[in-house]
Amino acid sequence: MRVALADDAAVLRAGLARLLGDAGVEVVAQVDSAEQLLAAVDEQQPDVAIVDIRMPPTWSDEGITAADAIHRRHPHVGVLLLSQYVEAEYALRLLERAEERTGYLLKERMLDLSDLLDALDRITAGETVIDPTLVTQLIGRHRSHSPLDDLTPREREVLSLMAEGLTDRGIAERLYLTPNTIETHVRHILGKLGLPATANDNRRVRAVIAYLRSA
């Protein structure tokens, strides 16, 4: 696996590069701006670009803009965006713009190397990855009279993993169940929440997150 790192905090970036290197991930470029990232991706064609959302010059959403550009120019290069905030709004904005091979993780996920590596694998495999902390927050909200109340504990579990961007197969592996069982759960969940039965992709993640946000 070959990745490019873009983060303007040099010490952090170097640490992450070393951590990934030790885990067998080849870090082909380390840059500190969106502009340099695009040049590096053009040149190196990595599997995934790991991008901090806040970068110079305005420290607002340079990372998201860069992700757009990378998806446009190199559809096969995945992008993993790292955010400082646990906010569904940011994730949704990202999902609305990116098609697939996209991930939205909290920056703190750097501290859980296995999660990070898993996310990189899934993105390379064409999946969408949403940070579990965000999903937990969305599902754990206090609501009165929500269709979520009608879900069984198992269905809630499945819904969380759907929101994290896992495929039916991924969910099955995570829960030690068969893909067929998961398919049945998914069908029930979508029915109870009144969501369209869409394909197993970015659009399903987006629909589930949007539902959870406004529920």
Partner: protein, 582 residues
């Protein structure tokens, strides 16, 4: 001064009476004609004296008196043609009425010259009249003047000052035409005044110009008729016309002056009116009293050393020119206010002064209010600045925490992981210590994130009020129903105020309401943002509880908004805020 006027009137009346007696008993002039002429003169003098009495500040009354009086004295020669004494007086004053009239007209209505040219013309006229008097007093042979239609003076007595007798008929004609020229010059100067006058001033000058034209025409005709023998009827008609014209001019000028001065009575009305004038109405009352709708009021603020208008906005007084004039009320070193008005009012200084004096107390009041409003506006602006500076500082702090402290903690966390890799599996129990350090680090990151969000949520800045409120509702300890939420972006201060209102309210619901449900609604109506947070809890919330609500109220007030807490015991609590968001 009243005694002087009384003396003048009594003397004039006695003189008129004596002259009438002389006419009745003598052969010239005819008694009827004399009666009309003398009555007109006495009427003119009376009018002049009345004006003088009523408007002592204007010298116009003096000139209005002197003009017919000079005419009367000049007539003495026709009545007492046998008396050298009377003849002397008549000759001395024969042209005196002309410069007096010029001065009357050119200085109307104040009685004071406003232009050097005007003064020069009148001085020349006085000079000409004096020269005429001098020449004729010394050399005249009265008989030589007898071909005038009205001058039957075959046996007139010479003046007491006569030194030699000469035929001065030609000289007399020369002076006639000199005065015709001066009359024309007078008309030109009046026309100049008319052109230069402001609209209000024109109302004063126009009747004056008409009257003067009438007299000038009369004078021109009379001079042209010199030596012509008119029949009796024409002669009588002309006599009546000229006498009536003369008197009419006096009446018109006197009436005009008294009308100009009518403000005196109005000042009394002003005093009464000001008692009922609402704050800010002093200008209108003054404008009505002074008859100048264009009047502007500038109030003096000592601590600014400058003028402000009624709303407390700074104003500059205009340069003094022909269009605007400025009258400062109160002592010049510490004025109360300044009136910016039509320059024609300068001709009524007494009215300006008395109206200003009458309005002074109200103006003091108005000034205090303007001062208060100015301070209030300043206070208001500074409060808004403080809130917005505070918000800016909060945003900066939040960014510093995220970009500084959070990045460092993360670097530290990565270092711990690298360390764990170097140490291998549980080297002397170090793994346990590493786990502890890792837990501490994650806790620190969590606390840091909460701290930063409490200071200023980044999502509010980045994604707006709607996103921030959804996020807030999602993290709240109570179940929150969002009934309405704005989609568009609003000014940062407004968004922050609404956000913190909801945030504080939800915190209070969780702490005190004893319920698990709250309802949030943020909507816009008529340029105002309405923020409502309601719960169905125990109610009875104390608005003075804690500093949270008070700080919130300050924040909302700084934006000209209102914050209301409605919390009847047992019936839930409703926090309502209205914030302008044009």
């Amino acid at each position: 001064m009243r005694a002087v006027r009384l003396l003048i009137w009594t003397g004039s009346a006695l003189l008129c009476g004596a002259m009438l007696l002389s006419a009745v008993h003598g052969i010239w002039p005819p008694a009827g004609k004399a009666a009309i002429s003398l009555a007109a003169s006495l009427a003119g003098i009376t009018i002049g004296l009345v004006v003088w009495d009523r408007r002592p500040e204007s010298r116009t009354g003096l000139f209005l008196t002197a003009y017919p009086l000079a005419g009367l004295l000049a007539d003495l020669g026709s009545y007492y043609w046998g008396s050298s004494f009377a003849m002397t007086i008549a000759l001395a004053t024969s042209w005196l009425a002309a410069p007096i009239f010029g001065q009357l007209v050119l200085t109307y209505p104040t009685g004071r010259f406003t232009s050097r040219l005007d003064r020069a013309l009148v001085e020349i006229a006085y000079g000409a009249a004096g020269l005429y008097a001098l020449v004729f007093l010394v050399f005249v042979s009265p008989r030589s003047l007898t071909d005038s239609a009205d001058w039957h003076c075959w046996v007139c007595a010479p003046p007491v000052t006569q030194i030699a007798s000469r035929d001065l008929t030609g000289t007399h004609r020369i002076f006639d035409w000199i005065f015709v020229a001066l009359a024309l010059a007078l008309l030109v100067l009046l026309f100049r005044r008319l052109v230069r006058a402001t609209p209000a001033g024109r109302r004063v000058v126009l009747p004056l110009a008409v009257a003067t034209c009438a007299l000038a025409v009369e004078f021109l005709v009379q001079t042209s008729l010199y030596g012509t023998n008119l029949n009796t009827w024409t002669s009588s008609a002309w006599f009546v016309i000229s006498t009536v014209t003369d008197l009419a001019v006096s009446v018109a000028l006197a009436a005009g002056l008294l009308w100009l001065g009518r403000g005196r009575g109005a000042v009394a009305g002003l005093v009464v009116e000001l008692q009922q004038t609402p704050p800010g109405g002093v200008r209108d009352a003054l404008a009505r009293t002074l008859g100048d709708p264009s009047l502007e009021l500038a109030l003096w603020l000592p601590e600014r050393s400058g003028y402000v208008d009624g709303a407390g906005r700074p104003v500059e007084l205009p340069e003094l020119d022909s269009r605007r004039a400025v009258t400062v009320l109160g002592p010049s070193d510490s004025p109360v206010a300044a009136l910016v008005h039509d320059p024609v009012l300068l001709e009524r200084p007494a009215l300006l002064a008395s109206a200003g004096a009458a309005a002074r107390l109200s103006l003091e009041n108005e000034r205090l209010q303007a001062e208060l409003r100015a301070q209030l506006a300043e206070l208001h602006a500074s409060r808004a600045r403080i809130v917005s500076a505070g918000d800016e500082e909060r945003r900066r702090l939040e960014r510093d925490l995220h970009d500084g402290a959070q990045q460092r903690l993360l670097s530290l966390g990565i270092a711990l992981q690298l360390l764990r890799g170097k140490l291998g599996v549980d080297a002397n129990g170090a793994g346990e210590l590493l786990d502890e350090a890792d837990d501490e680090l994650r806790a620190a990151l969590d606390e840091l994130r909460e701290l930063a969000r409490g200071i200023h949520p980044a999502v509010l800045t980045d994604e707006g009020l709607g996103a921030a409120l959804r996020s807030l509702a999602g993290r709240s300890a109570v179940s929150v129903t969002i009934a309405a939420i704005p989609d568009d972006r609003l000014p940062a201060a407004t968004e922050a105020a609404a956000y913190f209102v909801v945030s504080e309210a939800l915190t209070n619901v969780a702490k005190y309401a004893g319920t698990a449900e709250a309802r949030v609604s943020v909507s816009r109506r008529n340029g105002r943002m309405l923020v409502d947070v309601e719960d169905d809890g125990v109610g009875g919330a104390d608005p003075s509880r804690g500093t949270g609500l008070r700080g919130l109220a300050d924040r909302v007030h700084a934006l000209d908004g209102v914050l209301e807490l409605d919390s009847p015991p047992g019936h839930g609590t409703r926090l309502h805020a209205e914030i302008p968001c044009a």
